[in-house]
């Protein structure tokens, strides 16, 4: 069962979109995890719920909301196009944005848990040794929460490979631009005689997901050993 050009294209696109989405959401997730774990502010519970909304909303709705905001007539979409000449809707980066929004809660959750587990006493010790806030975060907090950060990144990446509803709603199903593995699979299933293509794409999805999760576990193990836990 040889893979066709189109299969490779879908695979490549899936990986590319998932990577972009992870890169984009990583700093945002870190910031949100910090806010939720370390800051006390009015409306924190509501904010917490808002961050987790993509987990419970229909993905199609998330895609639709993105269209409203980032579509060519949306508030952000018009701004991005006018000022930077960036168009997100119906593009690969748009697919990455939709994926990022959908996987953000997964990443925030993993980071927040690991941040909450960091002993504040160690940060205090670093303080008395002359380390300022940013210095402390980079040399103590971040290395100690790294297992959680990595787990979040890899899980979000693996989940991002399979994102469907939000992507197809916001970025559409354009071969070579936004047609990732799940979208290609869906298309194959809708096409008469597409069974063998669907089988190939299904197997590829399986292999990719398994590889990502196994990689995550190995990374986490190595990290724990490094941190001595």
């Amino acid at each position: 069962m040889a893979l066709t050009e189109a299969d490779w294209q879908a695979l490549h696109l899936s990986v590319s979109v998932a990577l972009r989405s992870v890169l984009a959401s990583l700093p945002v997730a870190l910031g949100l995890a910090w806010l939720l774990a370390r800051r006390r502010f009015p409306g924190r519970t509501l904010f917490d719920a808002f961050v987790h909304l993509p987990l419970v909303l229909p993905p199609v709705l998330v895609g639709y909301l993105l269209l409203l905001l980032f579509g060519l007539n949306g508030a952000f979409g018009a701004f991005l196009l006018r000022v930077f000449g960036i168009r997100l809707v119906f593009t690969r980066n748009g697919a990455a944005l939709a994926t990022a929004v959908m996987t953000l809660p997964i990443m925030v959750r993993a980071m927040r848990i690991s941040l909450e587990a960091v002993d504040r006493g160690l940060e205090d010790a670093a303080r008395t040794l002359g380390a300022g806030p940013f210095d402390r975060f980079c040399t103590i907090t971040l290395p100690l929460m790294l297992p959680g950060v990595l787990a979040g990144v890899v899980t979000a990446f693996a989940a991002g490979l399979g994102e469907f509803g939000a992507v197809i709603t916001f970025a559409s199903n354009i071969p070579g631009e936004t047609q990732t593995l799940p979208l290609a699979l869906y298309t194959a299933l809708q096409t008469p005689g597409g069974e063998s293509a669907a089988a190939r794409l299904a197997l590829m999805s399986f292999a990719l997901g398994l590889a990502a999760l196994a990689g995550a576990e190995l990374l986490a193990r190595g990290m724990r050993r490094w941190l001595g836990r």
Partner: protein
């Protein structure tokens, strides 16, 4: 005196719920002040306030001529700029860094300062050479505290705060770490504040004492003068109640293992062959170990008979009396039963002989450098 200007002066107020911490004291430089009191009396909070890890509601913290905190003037130097070294009860070594990297953490960040202790010096002082390549998880409790001490010192602190560094260690590990602490106290010309609820640690280490209870300072002053204070008496319990005398070892007889200790105008024979002549020591005479005689004793195995007179008698419990005896400048405490006090007609002004077994003093002689005679050592630049 090299570090004379680095005297720590604090006056702190902090209210949380029903607990009020209201303390004021000074830590001379060089010297070691022990904050002594029962658990929950606010010792650790005091340390954290001085270090800048907590904020006082009101008060003032000054180190030499530097104001680190002043509520009225709105001054608050951030903790990372205070140059106050901290050794915590739980060591708090960074688990993702090797011992060497832990030691270097503060050292590197002090590179723009005029460093007064070097890396090799600290490694030698604390015996860390064999540990440098190890990871914190591979260290024993005592080793961890030594590394934490070294890490704090290498940040070139102007003041060292130690929060019960021995509390998490078993007895053997304590004995292992204590000599290092004594060495630091004698070699560093910076003030040290040491939190403890173990009176023996205080006797071994402290030059000055701040007695705390329920967020307040009950008494403060030099250790020897405070050991007779009623505030401290009520806290140490009958087992450790006793006077502390400071003196110089005049001679040690290697054959008998007896050392002659000059205390004030008198002399004590103590079993302390590990001491050397000329050494300044502190000796604790436990009140329940002392025997009183109203005639010069003869034909006894007791090695020490100090002549003196009674200067006070207080009722300890229903059936015991605590007698204070002036033995030529120094004052010692003796616990006697009420019956004995009545039989011997003990009263203020009465001449008595205080009998002390040399053997009973074994383990109660502590090496100790007086702050006034502290040797010149590493001193931070001002």
């Amino acid at each position: 005196m090299a570090g004379a200007l680095n005297v720590l002066a604090v006056q702190l107020l902090r209210r949380r719920g029903t607990f009020t911490l209201d303390v004021a004291f000074q830590a001379p430089s060089p010297g070691l002040v022990a904050l002594f009191g029962p658990s929950g009396c606010g010792k650790t909070t005091t340390i954290e306030l001085i270090a800048g890890l907590l904020r006082p509601d009101a008060g003032h913290i000054a180190l030499g001529s530097d104001t680190l905190f002043d509520a009225a003037q709105g001054i608050e130097v951030p903790s990372e700029q205070r140059r106050i070294g901290c050794v915590f009860q739980d060591a708090r070594l960074f688990p993702h860094l090797s011992v060497r990297s832990n030691l270097c953490y503060g050292f590197k960040r002090a590179r723009h300062l005029a460093r007064y202790v070097g890396f090799d010096e600290v490694v030698e002082l604390l015996g860390l050479a064999a540990l440098l390549g190890r990871h914190p998880r591979a260290l024993s409790g005592g080793e961890r505290q030594r590394v934490a001490l070294g890490r704090a010192l290498l940040a070139q602190p102007r003041l060292l705060l130690l929060d019960e560094p021995l509390a998490s260690l078993d007895l053997a590990r304590r004995e292992e770490l204590l000599p290092y602490l004594e060495r630091l106290r004698d070699r560093l010309s910076i003030p040290m504040v040491y939190v403890s609820h173990q009176f023996e640690e205080v006797l071994r280490l402290a030059t000055h004492l701040v007695v705390m209870r329920a967020g307040h300072v009950l008494a403060q002053g030099e250790v020897a003068s405070l050991t007779r204070s009623p505030e401290l008496r009520s806290m140490v319990g009958p087992e450790t109640l006793g006077a502390v005398l400071e003196g110089v070892i005049a001679a040690v007889d290697g054959h008998t293992g007896l050392a002659r200790l000059r205390v004030g105008e008198g002399e004590l024979l103590v079993q302390a062959q590990e001491r050397t002549a000329g050494e300044r020591v502190r000796v604790q005479l436990l009140a329940r170990d002392l025997i009183l005689a109203i005639e010069p004793p003869r034909g006894l195995s007791v090695r020490n008979a100090l002549a003196g007179h009674i200067c006070a008698i207080t009722t300890e419990a229903d059936t015991t009396r605590l007698v204070e005896i002036d033995v030529g400048g120094a004052i010692v405490l003796a616990q006697v039963t009420e019956a004995a006090a009545v039989d011997l007609k003990l009263a203020r002004g009465r001449a008595v002989w205080v009998l002390v077994k040399a053997v009973s003093l074994r383990g109660h002689v502590y090496a100790f450098a007086s702050p006034r005679e502290a040797p010149s050592g590493a001193a931070p630049p001002r």
